[in-house]
């Protein structure tokens, strides 16, 4: 069965620092990749997604992610974080029309 690994459980950054959150998956076939975010007190919402094409995808609020097929990775990046980016970030993988698998999540705390 496919699985998703997020390397960092909790990341603490100062405002304006650069962010990279790791995500690796274990599945050899074609996959669809997602990053979801949950801000404090809010619902899970989609940050960005990759289905095919350009492996560098851009999402909302200045986030981007790069799909590296050879490394089975889909890392999330942002050049300069803001206090409002404090949230929990989940990587998710889907290998077709069902069976969406989520990682355990990374809690990001941005200090003002």
């Amino acid at each position: 069965a496919q699985s998703v690994s997020q390397h960092n459980h909790h990341v603490i950054l100062s405002e304006a620092a650069s962010l990279e959150l790791g995500c690796n998956y274990s599945y050899g076939g074609t996959v669809n990749l997602f990053w979801y975010v949950q801000y404090p007190g809010q619902h899970l919402q989609l940050l960005l997604k990759y289905f095919s094409g350009d492996p560098l995808v851009k999402g909302i609020k200045g986030f981007e992610a790069e799909f590296i097929k050879s490394k089975f990775s889909f890392n999330l990046r942002k050049p300069s974080v803001q206090w409002s980016d404090t949230a929990e970030y989940f990587c998710a993988v889907n290998a077709g029309w069902s069976d969406m698998r989520f990682g355990a999540g990374t809690r990001l705390t941005v200090k003002p």
Binding site: W97, S98, D99, M100, F102, A104, G105
Partner: protein, 115 residues
């Protein structure tokens, strides 16, 4: 546009009791999902419906969990009897189509505590 609605928001029960959760998806969304999120973990898919048919229930503990979406709109998830390890947030999500091709929209969740 109204989002995914769930009720109740919180529920506390004792082990071996029964509990039911309700979800109303975004209007027009064909696909509905129930997830279980245990503290410190990511959401785990329990069951996925396409209209009123089950697409995937491979991770649903069928000896105690059941779910239905009789008219292809709202859905109910039931646990009978509950165990301590069922304490979690139960999330409902919906999408216009199948999981791999569409964004999922999540509800606020129901936080279940089993004592």
């Amino acid at each position: 546009e109204a989002g995914v609605a769930q009720s109740p928001r919180y529920k506390i029960i004792e082990k071996r009791q029964s509990v039911a959760f309700w979800c109303n998806p975004i209007s027009g969304h064909a696909t509905l999902y129930w997830y279980q999120q245990i503290l410190g973990q990511g959401p785990k898919l329990l069951i996925q419906f396409q209209n009123n048919g089950v697409v995937d229930d491979s991770q649903l503990p069928k000896d105690r969990f059941s779910a239905e979406r009789l008219k292809g709109v709202d859905s109910t998830l039931k646990i009978q009897p509950a165990k301590l390890e069922d304490s979690a947030v139960y999330l409902c999500a919906s999408s216009p189509g199948l999981a791999g091709l569409h964004e999922q929209f999540f509800g606020p969740g129901t936080r279940l505590t089993v004592l």
